[in-house]
């Protein structure tokens, strides 16, 4: 397995590895931090690194941006990078900002309701409410529940 790790292979795959490191940093922020805004920033980092992963697949060494000369006389000697990932990622960026804004609105609403944007704080409040309700229902059931 290790004989394929030639110098050329390593240099050719460095870009993927860089984006994986970025992705995992974003994922770590999402999983380990309990502040909701920070989670969202982590999610953004994850998203952008996925975008860059896709774009880097469309790159051709020595190629140029996929824009023809304005007189449309295309020189067959010029290589252009693959425009299809660009198109897909353009759509994805706009959809990403839409979901981000929705999440931010949700955070504002959560803060209004719970007066905190910290996940641990929300869980605390929720469990207090739950305990109070259980006690209430328990008394109503005559101490059997």
């Amino acid at each position: 397995m290790f004989e394929e790790f030639t110098w050329e292979f390593i240099v050719g795959h460095l870009n993927y590895w860089l984006f994986i490191v970025l992705m995992m940093t974003g994922l770590y922020i999402v999983v380990a931090r309990s502040n909701l805004v920070k989670k969202l920033v982590g999610l953004n980092i994850f998203q952008v690194s996925v975008f860059m992963l896709y774009i880097s697949m469309g790159k051709i060494t020595g190629g140029t941006a996929p824009i023809f000369p304005t007189d449309m006389k295309v020189d067959p000697g010029v290589t252009y990078s693959n425009p299809l990932p660009h198109v897909l990622i353009l759509t994805a960026i706009v959809v990403g900002i839409a979901t981000t804004s929705l999440a931010l609105a949700l955070i504002v609403r959560i803060r209004e309701e719970y007066n905190t944007i910290d996940e641990a704080g929300i869980l605390e409040i929720e469990s207090t409410i739950c305990r109070a309700e259980n006690q209430l229902h328990g008394e109503a059931m005559g101490g059997r529940a």
Binding site: L22, K38, P66, V87, I93, A98, S101, A120
Partner: protein, 180 residues
């Protein structure tokens, strides 16, 4: 640079600084996208990622709090999850073609056809614009639907905000009057 910015985001507790760093991250990634020949994407990323989303996050911070409470969770389990996922992804990249190679599978099937046909059929010099508006027009339509839905959702979530606040203040005022 990107990695340093991302790691700083992990360490920083001030949310204002975190939001600014996310703007820096977007701008750096836009620069990287330019070097990867994706000028349209870089343009959008700089405008949307560094511009609009930073403004949105700042306005959220203005409505909420600015500082992160120190986390009581242990970092071991998340770190384990992240490392396992990262290892799996790393294993997946071993089959990928080398960066920038012209004979990668992505370059052999659809790519030449699109490049060839968009010269005659569309006549727009920018191939990305041509594909986005013509061949994949329905994608853009769906994207518009998504953005519209998100906008309606945001409006519905935030529309009662001011009214509810005034109600709260009224309640507080009445309570104070009652106690006083």
């Amino acid at each position: 640079m990107l990695v340093i910015t991302a790691l700083t985001v992990v360490r920083t507790a001030s949310l204002f600084a975190v939001v600014m760093l996310s703007g820096v991250f977007s701008l750096l990634s836009a620069l990287l996208l330019v070097t990867l020949d994706a000028v349209d994407v870089a343009f959008t990323e700089a405008a949307v990622g560094a511009g609009i989303s930073t403004v949105l996050m700042l306005s959220t911070l203005a409505l909420t709090s600015r500082h992160e409470r120190p986390s009581k969770l242990s970092p071991v389990v998340p770190l384990f999850v992240v490392l396992v996922t990262g290892a799996a992804l790393f294993y997946g990249t071993l089959d990928m073609p080398n960066f920038g190679s012209a004979d990668a599978p992505a370059m052999l099937h659809v790519y030449p056809e699109y490049m060839e046909r968009s010269q005659h059929e569309i006549g727009v010099p920018n191939v990305v614009t041509g594909i986005l508006a013509s061949y994949r027009g329905y994608d853009t339509l769906g994207e518009t639907a998504v953005v519209f839905t998100a906008g309606v959702g945001v409006l519905m979530l935030l529309s009662g905000l001011r009214r509810r606040r005034e109600d709260d203040e009224d309640d507080d005022g009445e309570n104070q009057r009652g106690s006083g």
